[in-house]
């Protein structure tokens, strides 16, 4: 029997409406993690941004996990569920039976049973990851994984938009700082 599908159009509506309430990426990402944890009845959710210079994952938003677990140490993209960074989702249905985690003992100590990791893509490049943590072993349906990919794509779009907006604001502030004397007629 296939796994139960939990993500439907109504959940999409709720999540997208909540995300649209804010023009701030951090608040948007926090709302997404909160709603996914609450509606899927899972332990936690974290959205990471990939730091390409150090190949480290930085936390953009997180909900449900302890501060100690979130700050357990640097998370390296080639050691922590590296398969996500080939651009495909990866499911660890049971954390006790995997060699894909960088900190497997911390995960068990935190009470995590399973992890789903989906990439956040930007024009075919992976710029981050969204991870969902379940208390127990998790048999997530393929369709729910696909739905999570769509949500992650939207976070990717929001990140792109925010980056462009920030660049525009920086240009505006720089131009505003230029005294009239330096402007050509």
């Amino acid at each position: 029997m296939s796994a139960e599908e939990k993500i439907d159009i109504d959940l999409f509506k709720v999540v997208f409406r909540a995300m649209a309430q804010s023009d701030n990426l951090e608040i948007m990402a926090n709302h997404l993690t909160q709603l996914l944890v609450a509606s899927l009845e899972i332990k936690g959710c974290t959205i990471f941004v990939l730091n390409p210079e150090y190949d480290e994952l930085e936390v953009l938003a997180s909900f449900g996990l302890s501060t100690d677990y979130v700050q357990k140490g640097p998370l390296l993209s080639d050691k922590s569920i590296a398969d996500t960074f080939s651009g495909k989702p990866f499911v660890i249905p049971d954390v006790k039976n995997t060699d894909k985690l960088q900190y497997p003992q911390d995960a068990q100590k935190e009470g995590i049973g399973a992890i789903v990791s989906v990439p956040i893509n930007f024009y075919g490049k992976v710029i981050g990851a969204m991870r969902l943590y379940h208390h127990q072993v998790w048999d997530i349906s393929d369709r729910d994984v696909d739905s999570l990919l769509v949500l992650a794509e939207n976070i990717g779009l929001a990140m792109t938009y925010t980056r462009v907006l920030k660049a525009l604001k920086t240009i505006r502030y720089t131009v505003d700082d230029i005294h009239d004397i330096w402007m050509l007629d």
Binding site: K13, N24, N30, Q34, V49, N51, L60, T162
Partner: protein
């Protein structure tokens, strides 16, 4: 000596702990110190739960989210009460735990408009790519505020 009002922005990280340690070692022995420890949390999203049967199912989930926020507030109180009893026993401690409406830097700037602080203590983690998206809190605060001492612990 006039009362020194100090604001410490706190977000439950190890760096925030370092910022608290800095405040303790620098100001704890002085008299007439008022320390405000501030945390702005992301509020639970507002969702129209009456609109349909399905969204109605989210009601219990939203109350779970509210419980999580309350739990965080209790954690915040415990930390600050411990500080008030031990390391910062000499100072008057105030706490502000409130929902954020904007980015954290704007929340700090607005709070400083409400209560003029003499010193603001922030922390900064080096080489963070998330700054490209969310902006640097310390940079915005430093660029915006005037006549306020801003200490950045990194």
């Amino acid at each position: 000596m006039a009362i020194q009002k100090i604001l410490v922005a706190y977000n439950f990280t190890h760096l925030d702990q370092k910022a608290i340690e800095f405040v303790t070692s620098t100001f704890a022995r002085l008299d007439g110190i008022e320390i405000t420890i501030f945390h702005a949390y992301t509020p639970v999203p507002e969702i129209e739960t009456q609109a349909s049967m399905v969204t109605g199912k989210l009601k219990s989930s939203l109350s779970y989210l509210s419980q999580q926020v309350m739990q965080r507030e209790n954690e915040f109180k415990e930390i600050t009460e411990k500080l008030a009893k031990n390391d910062l026993a000499n100072a008057q401690i105030h706490t502000i735990f409130r929902p954020r409406k904007k980015d954290i830097a704007s929340e700090i700037i607005n709070l400083n408009r409400e209560t003029k602080f003499d010193v603001i203590v922030l922390n900064r983690k080096a080489a963070r790519v998330t700054r490209f998206f969310s902006g640097s809190v310390s940079h915005k605060v430093l660029m915006t505020l005037k006549e306020t001492t801003v200490c950045v612990v990194s």
